[in-house]
Symmetry: D2
Subunit: 344 residues, 4 copies
């Protein structure tokens, strides 16, 4: 089969690989129908996340089950399925509490040896371990463009909102309008936020945010802090989603948020950084972060997408052939796309 | 001033009454701009809820503050305000926990001596005690048709949904599509329900429910239990709102709801009745009921109405003059109206 | 091996049975060290719960793993383990939400064909399916008298308290001081209840409740309603646990509980019954019931028992040999014992 | 009357002041029976918190109501009362949500102009505004040594535990065993923590922590991280209370805590500081901080103290006369006392 593999910083290649085979009773093999290129893939492409040259990348996928191990009960050969971007055991301390994103045996698709040596999904086929936990049937009539968001980008945007403790009627700010931030804008509206300030400096993204129900606020040409005050009688927003992952964004998030409010960092932090602890403490803000619990949310997200309450398709800017992955990565790298869907 | 007064079962009259005057430092006098006729008023009209002949009725209202006591801080003379249907002290055990609907000093407008001897709002003016707790300013640009729902019917529909523990993506059933049930349909959608089965036997109400985002299910011509199963892979709905208040409705609610689901009785129960305790127990259903905590929810409801996330105006079927209250009650009694708004 | 089998109403017998053998990869065989006689066993003994003559009964157990299937990861041959009274699949809709007590494939030990045809644990050995979900290692140094409560009686008492939403400082009433009620008394104190009214009519049980931290209140010689009022400035208790399972108990529970409080029915209801819905509604009480989620709680309960925060050993009134099961059931039937532990 | 006043860094004095008089209808005057010296007072004593020379200090108090404004309903002249360390309006956005610690009109006793110019309670008498919100009657038979903790130190220790989301059975670590840390140790046990690692470097404080139910862990002579791992099968503690308020403590808290656990900063932060955001994010830890909501918790704390579930009296190391305040501050400054109670 064909697979998109990492070669070196700035270079991916479509190569021949052996078809995947079942290795454990809980495994499934999926024939890929659509697979997305994601911001995380770009970290690999840029060489910031180190993986082995030749490793297959990609972790967003929709397809059809072509083989299933003996222990698999919830999907069958022939089922059209979508998957989550990582696996979970379903039995450890964290899984038993529903915190699948912290499963001690978690493996992430297409991220090399550091995240479990699980080959990616930008390929003709993919091996999916723990299939009963990782996969869901695609609801009748749902497009692959929609479905492949459930286990990754929309699951992450929804998590940002849901984990924040947002209550109906709250005023929300979302910092950073990449695909995850945009999904957070839509998710916040879908669960009853009365206003969602969507903050970025890219006009195209602000326009998409507005189409998804947000109030566009330009980071520098508008005044985000004034916008937050104006929307809340001066208090600050109830919830701020930091979808950037940079100390400056966190600093702004803390400033935009009202006392006893909540800041949810869905953008990735990996380093030490200076934080205005004094302001955080004075305002009694709750700060949460970390990777999204997409497995924990996937049933809800799918139900909301099936009902049209969540609809990520405005984010799909490009459809390309798997064969054209090198060009897709180049386009994505030039920030010309929000979401590229590859089809084998 | 003029006031709509109860006289006898089936008879209300517009009479002259002295203008209200401030009696306590927390009082406000409101000049009424719009006041609704509600299902609760009908209980009085029918003589089922006993009140003194000559008592002014009505408890939904929007208007302008014309006098305010010394201790009132949050509204001022000249403010356009809306109010909740009952008062609360803000300081008792229940108020301190946010359970304003169980305030030990609560008084309900227009319900006679049994509920605190507080004259009603279907009048040119009304005295509002505990104004800082009971009143809110009408958000800029909001119509009185919208605003007068915040402190009563929409507050109650929202309560039904919010108190039920509904989570985004849940499937909900609402039994009984009177104004409160219809508001519950809309509120459930607004906070992320993926599907809301709206169940009644009146075609017009089913049509309004559909317009508000519900899936209409005729009580007898369709099969509500089959609809619940179909929407949930056979499990039953996650949340059922009983907006009827009759043991048969409760029985159906218990049958429609999945194990570990939730039944919320917003319809009024006043008697002993036979309940299928065995089924309730076997399914481990959580059953909650009681009057809505509209004071606790009014800020959220107003924010959502201002944002257009909640919009009760499709329920307003009639506008009439205060003078025509006798006719309004007759129309409402014939079930020809969903919501009648009276204007002095 | 020897097994205690149901024969007919009022008759159990110790019979020879073939040793259990592994049937599925998730199975374990446990050599029993201690097994309890429980109130549920009495329902079988009385013939009220129908099971096949010759079926092995019992569902509380501590022992040692003597064989384990290939898929079992969390316990190993040689481990000293305790188990929950029922199995769960870990993967269905309910298990994924942590509601193991409503697992669609749940099987209960020792309850015959109606509850999954799973032979009981009052035997030399027992087959335990879904061992990773059902079993836990016994913490170092914990007696079997303590450990066998974790997966049944104490798990149920803890559930009654935890599911009720009890907050620290709350005043609680427990109706019915059988083993589960007594465990609920202790659990309520362990999580911060300021006072626990322990209500029954059997002086010995009232004395045990007092030793476990409760305030004994005789059902008829004292005045439970006055006691509830006295403890709460007249409001009623915050939480009432009905550990009886009879409409009269539920009626009292509703009367004892304050507005916006919570009634938790851990006693079993199987029939229709008249309920004072009006009072329940007027008081806005939350009513919950159903079998306990012991699998969901077992890690917490074990941790609290290991720390001595929960200690059910005062409930163990009798130690007997497995051989003497017929006599044990006769004693239990005469209500002369709270908990009888049988040892093979 | 006599009052303890701040003069300059390191100098307090007992001076004559006019008796306080009612200024608003919600005011009360309390004749002080006992008033504590607290760590916050030391910040003033050290000149780190700036207040006006001559300002009366102190904010922990028990006494008797000697005058009450017309609007006061919940306490009366002659009542023995205890108070919270700050006032709240009961009506603003934050108070309406129960977040009294963020009341927009909050004033703190004995902290000078920056915190509302409210004279302190280390005096013969004190003026208490918003008395219905700030004061509670002392439960029958409760000593002043116990009662004066409710509205300050124990309220803060309880807050640290309650706001953290601690669940029964959790393993907790408390960093810093000053009075607040010690109260947090006891509160954690009281609400069901299975183990509480109490970490400090002062042997006497470790001994008190052990007496209050904690497991003493010396900061440098023992290995706190090893202790946390040992208590949790290597995962880290479920909840860590930082009762220090220094970036090193926060760093240790993040390291001690398990993935998806919670860090509660009750120690004060006022500056920017470097934080290991990467570790916080990777572990998906929830970080909360801020001043305690003692008004929100005072009823619960009092109920638990009345029941003996919380008992702060082991922290009272000194009783002294109000007259001896200068010596009391000197002793406290030399860290020779945990809690000094002054009596006029």
């Amino acid at each position: 089969m064909r697979a998109v593999t990492f070669q070196a910083a700035g270079e991916v290649r479509v190569e021949e690989r052996p078809d995947p085979e079942l290795q454990a009773p809980s495994d499934v093999v999926v024939r890929i129908e659509a697979t997305g290129v994601c911001g995380s893939d770009l970290h690999i492409y840029h060489g910031r996340v180190k993986i082995e040259p030749g490793f297959t990348i990609g972790h967003e996928y929709v397809g059809t089950v072509v083989a299933a191990g003996d222990a698999v009960e919830r999907v069958s050969v022939g089922d059209r399925v979508l998957g989550c971007f990582h696996t979970a055991c379903g039995a450890c301390f964290f899984c038993r509490r529903g915190d699948y994103h912290r499963c001690v045996q978690s493996r992430t698709f297409g991220h090399g040896a550091t995240l479990g040596s699980l080959q990616g999904t930008q390929a003709d086929m993919a091996l999916v371990p723990q299939a009963d936990i990782v996969l869901r049937k695609v609801p009748e009539g749902m497009s692959s463009d929609t479905a492949l968001f459930a286990g990754d980008v929309m699951g992450t945007g929804f998590h940002a909102v849901h984990a924040s403790g947002l209550e109906p009627g709250d005023v929300v700010a979302v910092l950073g309008l990449g695909p995850v931030g945009l999904c957070a804008v839509q998710a916040a509206r879908a669960v009853g936020a009365s206003r969602v300030l969507a903050i970025d400096s890219v006009p195209e993204r602000l326009a998409v945010a507005q189409a998804l129900g947000g109030v566009p606020v330009h980071l520098t040409e508008d005044d985000p802090r004034a916008a937050a005050r104006e929307a809340t009688e001066g208090r600050g927003v109830d919830v701020c989603v930091d979808a950037v992952g940079h100390p400056d964004a966190l600093d702004m998030a803390v400033r935009l948020t009202r006392p006893c409010g909540s800041v949810q960092c869905i953008g990735v932090y990996a380093e030490r950084a200076e934080v205005h602890l004094g302001l955080l403490w004075l305002k009694a803000i709750t700060l949460r972060g970390g990777q999204a619990n997409v497995i924990g949310h996937v049933d809800r997200v799918l139900a909301m997408m099936a009902a049209g309450v969540l609809d990520p398709t405005p984010l799909v800017t490009h459809h390309m052939a798997l064969e054209d992955a090198p060009e897709a990565y180049a386009i994505y790298d030039r920030r010309e796309a929000l979401k590229i869907v590859l089809s084998p």
